[in-house]
Symmetry: C2
Subunit: 461 residues, 2 copies
Amino acid sequence: MALPDAFVQRLQQELGHEGLLSDPAETWNYGYDNSRRHAAPELVALPADHDQVAAVVSLCHEFAVPLTARGRGTGTTGASVPINGGLILSTEKMNHVIRIDPANRYMVVEPGVTNQQVQDIAAEHGFFWPPDPTSAAYCSVGGNLAYNSAGPRAIKYGTPRENTFGLRAVTGDGKSIRTGVYTTKGVVGYDLTRLLIGSEGTLAIITEATLKLTPLPESKRTLQVIYRDIDSAARAVSAIMAQPVVPYALEFMDAGAIDMIRDYSEAELPEGAGALLMIEVDGTEHNIQHAVDAIGRAADNDGLLKLTRAETAAEIQALWQTRKALSPALRTIAPKKINEDVVVPVSNIPALINGLSELSARYNVTIVNFGHAGNGNIHVNLLANPDDPDEMQRTHQCLDAVFSLVLDLDGTLSGEHGVGIEKQEFVGREIEPITLELMRRIKRDFDPKGILNPGKMFPTG
Amino acid sequence: MALPDAFVQRLQQELGHEGLLSDPAETWNYGYDNSRRHAAPELVALPADHDQVAAVVSLCHEFAVPLTARGRGTGTTGASVPINGGLILSTEKMNHVIRIDPANRYMVVEPGVTNQQVQDIAAEHGFFWPPDPTSAAYCSVGGNLAYNSAGPRAIKYGTPRENTFGLRAVTGDGKSIRTGVYTTKGVVGYDLTRLLIGSEGTLAIITEATLKLTPLPESKRTLQVIYRDIDSAARAVSAIMAQPVVPYALEFMDAGAIDMIRDYSEAELPEGAGALLMIEVDGTEHNIQHAVDAIGRAADNDGLLKLTRAETAAEIQALWQTRKALSPALRTIAPKKINEDVVVPVSNIPALINGLSELSARYNVTIVNFGHAGNGNIHVNLLANPDDPDEMQRTHQCLDAVFSLVLDLDGTLSGEHGVGIEKQEFVGREIEPITLELMRRIKRDFDPKGILNPGKMFPTG
């Protein structure tokens, strides 16, 4: 689309020369995310503060130009890919920690700070922010909020929705709003904070977030437990979740993932390993051994093949090598993987994994599963060769059946990646038409002209 | 208002003889809440299930009849008082636990179950639901959700917003919706669950809630710590909140409250007591003593007068007697008290208490403060004689100044009581006009004719 000259000129006035990119060689890079989809934006705005964001959104509203917010492009669903062209609003210059208030356990940040920056600065004061997606080193807090991205620690400490006090934002008609409070309680007016979190940039552009901090634990331990089969591992997960010591990570790998690591890494894994749990426990120095023992007892059943405890940083790192060997192995074996992050109630994990095994056989598609077992949040990887149209077709039929299986098991299509483009066509199976229509109305309240991330999240057509 | 005959007849058909009260002698009792305000409804509907709720709301929508949902009337803001007449929808017949799923740590309940019922049934399976308002024995879960009512345990375990997976509800145009998931993660579509929680019955009638359960701790201990002055107690609160052992209750009483107890109970309190903390700690048997020691160290400073530890049930009860003596004492001394539940960041508690002391002197109004110090959620009680118009006027001027003080201290007007009628006129000071307008639009999305709890929560005029 060709953007009106008047729009571009006024945008230049607002943002200055360094705040607006228009050279295709520069803007091209802002057109992808980690879904490997790409669409080039006409322009890239690099606002430096809330007021510049408000000016940009106001202009896009006035000229009805599509605006897609972008953090660091680590999302996996195409949510930040500007499929309708227009403007990318990159938050990369808004990368400041505005203030940290240790006495009140919060931190006010701009959306472009990375998750790692937040953790580093919080740690200087003895705190952390619980959400920690795999991409924490690069991903922005704005992106974490857009998809409610959590990572393994959610099992004990919750997702961004449980760890954010309030927001400052600009709605689709360029208006500035504040949501929430600076306190751990507050019930005046509707909860717009949680409404914006997870809304994938379709309601407003977040310009400031007040993050709830948690004290760093004194001590941590890691366990790796290998089971004969998925049912034994799932029984262990249920037993762990039924007792009061909550681990801060409870990660899972199925037989397919273990086999892959066996072939592509030097990790030692016993014969007949059908499932693996990585369990991390935190607490006081005084209690940590007791907590590990409690988890160890809950993890023990007749399907247990091997339990390894790590205490030192080196031992912990060695255990995690197994898990970290997985991604390179996946990439080696299959250049294209469809990586979903479905969720089912924890007790339905065996039914999910067994169902996936049946689908894998039926559609002749390799499926490898790992993920956050404590939340029932399983990363389901369908491996396919993009150069084989027949295989790609079978893979998409299989994916369709995977989502049906998940919904039949009381699950949800996404735990922390969101919908974006990738899952749009399936949203209508999870959310009923009346509820979807309410969401569309809310979208219009915030964004009357529909300029914010158009064509995303809602079912098309 | 006179309700149309056709409306009443169709309502009778839907609800049957036992499902509809129209005798003023019966309906009168449904017109009050714990704010002591009263307005008589024309009719009281007692639906037995979701479908009957949908039928009632549809009829009210068709005939544009005001509908106010009511749990057990323990709210303190007049939110369930039908000031515009019409219909009260009481959830008292919808008092069933639909199912409990211990393996997945959730429980599905109807809105009319009491908080206590939920705790009792959860406890049979080794769990609890964290929200525990003072009125837990009588108040309904629907009411807890309507005001996001939390109680003392919120400091460690959060409010209903952090402890609810999903809802079933009927919107103001009689449509049935489902929100949320049956899992601890989920990010498909907007978060309508948290939007409905705390919306005081203005958006939809909740007919079913999926509550997140937490394992009961193995062990509990209670500490009572008495300080020379408020600053010492506040320093202790900050020190407690800055270390990793989070108490599950951290309750506070100021000098006015202590004096009152001294006069009206037999509790032993040292001379010169300026503030009191009740601290409850939970954890494993193995760690509990260590946790109490950590809290004890954090609570200790040069203003500490007396620290008492309780271990047995009898000792714990004895310590709580002090706190429990407060409400009867308050009632004895002042027949009318204005009980607010403001919140400030924890480090601003001394400034709040000192500011309240100044306001008490300036307006010649007795103010007694206690509450949930760990959340900065202070119950500010203005004691006034309703038969003295001059005193009542001074009290209202003082209340106005209290809210200004709270907002100046980065606080919020309500932590868990909500707005209802009592705080309507002050909401515009906390929430900016643009944000309020967005909330009004959302209200229209859910309730196009404005029949649900009309005239509440939003500023009037």
